[in-house]
């Protein structure tokens, strides 16, 4: 059914842009003649084209160039491209110093990204409620009413950024990872400065985890029916099944937790994952080949990682994982809003890992680059970005120029799940309602934010747009228009 034919027989609601996600998006909600939600779609309305831009560039530029995809998670792209390029130069067997420096950079990136999301994007919804006054639902209101919480978020983000600066050279768009290694080690002053703040970060990670856990358990009945659904899950895991966000093998499980595939080498991902194109969005829809697009879609990110791994190799996070898993009663947990809890389990894991690394003398080593091995014409890098599994795939010519690039970013992997979550919440809160309120619209956004999408990674975003909601009658005539500015929020209605 095309959008145009649907418009003739239905009403359509548009939420544009989706607020407090990274980048820009638009939600359209189609109502049928009875005023019930027929379908909802999360659109990405702008085109990325990054894969095409970098064709013809030298492959060794990739770890630096691809960071321009995003100002929020450039480290993920930096490291993922570096892993692919390692493969091309035959330098994937990194020295201990290089691998540990990269891991430290990655844990720092996770820590700051999860802190920013939880304390400054998601916490207003959790603290003030999904339908609270929009003037309250923002980080500055959190700062006014819960200044200590806001301060924790700021200081955690800052510490994570300092780890990135110490390992990558800069907080944004660093250059630490190079083909086959790293270009610096961690100096003693850098180590000591980070170590001095570590105990406080551990305490804040634990209190943040407690907040997410208590919120989820305290609202479990509502959340179980809030944009939740059964799905497959995908992530990398360490070959022994441990959570590993930097390197590992691909594993996918079904809704019951049964293995779909496991121990899949990164270089073979195309044998297991395919992408579907749909005409109404620039974001593709990845799926597991063996199951096809209808049944093979899957979720990635914190909820997926905690569901797919067998254990976590740091004690406090493992204890938290075990408690979380009791929710599923032996099956994966499918509650969309439980992404927040999992995100905070991961933040605790990251701070534990960072503590181990800061005590490791290998970080002061001087053997930074692996000797080059077999030169290859193709390389795939896969890692877990904060928002989920990230794929970088390059082919290069004999002249060292990139001839093909394929990126499957975390948010793209979650495309189908986010659309299902949006549809579920829209049906729950908007079906049969004569008037759509700002609070209803926000509930749709709340479930999108649980996935922490980065739409500028998934395509390209620029500029600012007002949030617009439109009700169209069955003939396509405008009967109700709702505008929410993205500055000081001043909802207005036009009849």
């Amino acid at each position: 059914m095309s959008s145009s034919s649907m418009t003739e027989r239905t009403r359509r609601i548009v939420i544009e842009p989706v607020t407090r996600v990274e980048g820009h998006g638009k939600v359209t909600i189609h109502l049928d003649e009875a005023g019930k939600v027929d379908e909802a779609r999360l659109h990405v309305v702008e085109f990325r084209g990054f894969e095409r831009f970098i064709q013809g560039r030298p492959f060794w530029e990739m770890p630096v160039a691809v960071q321009r995809l995003c100002g929020i998670c450039p480290v993920s792209h930096h490291l993922c491209a570096a892993k692919a390029v390692d493969r091309i130069v035959g330098g994937e067997a990194l020295t201990p110093t290089a691998e540990k420096m990269r891991r430290l950079m990655h844990y720092g990136q996770f820590f700051q990204s999860h802190a920013l999301h939880f304390f400054h994007l998601a916490s207003p919804d959790l603290l003030f409620g999904f339908e609270a006054d929009p003037l309250q639902r923002n980080v500055l209101a959190v700062a006014a009413k819960h200044p200590e919480l806001a301060r924790q978020g700021i200081m955690m983000r800052k510490w994570g950024q300092e780890i990135i600066r110490a390992t990558a050279g800069k907080k944004i768009h660093g250059t630490g990872a190079i083909p086959g290694g790293i270009n610096k080690n961690l100096t003693i002053p850098e180590r000591d400065a980070l170590t001095a703040e570590w105990p406080q970060m551990l305490l804040w990670a634990q209190s943040g985890l407690a907040l997410a856990r208590d919120y989820t358990l305290g609202h479990l009945r509502e959340l179980a029916d809030f944009g939740s659904f059964e799905s497959n899950f995908l992530s990398i895991v360490r070959p022994d099944g441990a959570l590993d966000i930097y390197d590992g093998v691909l594993r996918a499980i079904d809704a019951d937790g049964k293995i779909i595939f496991d121990q899949v080498d990164n270089q073979a991902y195309l044998d297991y994952i395919a992408e579907e194109v749909r005409p109404w969005t620039y974001m593709k829809f990845p799926f597991i080949r063996s199951l096809g697009p209808a049944k093979g879609w899957y979720r990635v990110g914190p909820l997926a990682r905690i569901n797919t791994c067998d254990f976590i190799d740091t004690p406090l996070a493992e204890e938290a994982r075990k408690e979380f898993k009791t929710l599923g009663g032996g099956r994966p947990v499918h509650v969309s809003m439980a992404y927040h809890w999992c995100r905070m389990i991961e933040i605790l894991h990251c701070v534990e890992k960072i503590g181990q690394l800061l005590r490791d003398p290998d970080l002061q080593g001087t053997d930074l680059v692996a000797p080059g091995g077999e030169r290859r014409s193709e390389g795939v890098g896969i890692l877990e970005a904060p928002r989920g599994t990230l794929f970088h795939h390059y082919r290069v010519g004999e002249d060292d120029l990139v001839t093909m690039c394929n990126l499957i970013v975390s948010t793209t992997n979650n495309n189908e799940p986010m659309n299902r979550a949006v549809t579920g919440v829209a049906k729950k809160v908007m079906s049969g309602q004569a008037t759509i309120t700002e609070g209803m619209m926000n509930q749709v956004e709340v479930v999108i934010r649980a996935y922490d999408p980065c739409l500028s990674c998934a395509t390209h975003a620029m500029g600012q747009m007002p949030l617009v909601l439109e009700l169209l009658d069955r003939a396509g005539n405008l009967v109700h228009r709702f505008v929410k500015d993205d500055g000081p929020c001043a909802p207005s209605e036009e009849a």
Partner: protein, 159 residues
């Protein structure tokens, strides 16, 4: 500005031509090594900048602008609480100052100097000719304003 701790923050994307004006101007200020003036350059403002801002008496945000009257516009920044932030890709100066005041209880005063730019669409690190003239005018103003005895007053400067 005698006895005042000043933070100058230049931000923007130096790979998008005139969008790099804020960073370029900040680097020029840094080279002056004015006592009591700290300089930071960034792609974008974000929540953690509130901590740094709170440690200064005055913060001056330097940015490029497509709509400011040339050569530049200087305005006072008011901390804005209750703003519905669209994204944390970046914060506006008002948001950073708001966090500095609400979270860190800092009485920091804020100013924003917007240098008029013209070319934000091409990819490259070259600042356009007219924008470069505006940058020089802004620098001349700041050389005086940031020195002991100078002051930042909201103003427009004729081209």
């Amino acid at each position: 500005m005698a006895g005042t701790k000043v933070l100058v923050v230049g931000y923007g994307n130096p790979d998008r031509c005139d969008d790099g004006l804020g960073m370029a101007l900040a680097e020029r200020v840094r080279a002056l090594e004015i006592p009591g003036v700290d300089v930071e350059v960034k792609y974008q403002l974000n929540v953690e900048d509130a901590d740094l801002v709170a440690k200064h008496d005055v913060v001056l945000f330097l940015d490029a602008c497509l709509c400011a009257p040339p050569p530049f516009l200087l305005r006072e920044v008011e901390a804005r609480a209750g703003t519905l932030e669209f994204t944390t890709h970046s914060l506006a100066p008002e948001g950073v100052l708001g966090l500095a005041q609400d979270v860190f209880r800092a009485p920091t005063k804020g100013y924003a100097l917007a240098v008029r730019g013209y070319d934000f669409h091409d990819v490259g690190d070259q600042i356009s000719k007219d924008a470069a003239k505006n940058l020089e005018a802004a620098l001349s103003f700041l050389v005086g304003a940031l020195q002991p005895g100078g002051s930042l007053h909201p103003m427009e400067v004729d081209a």
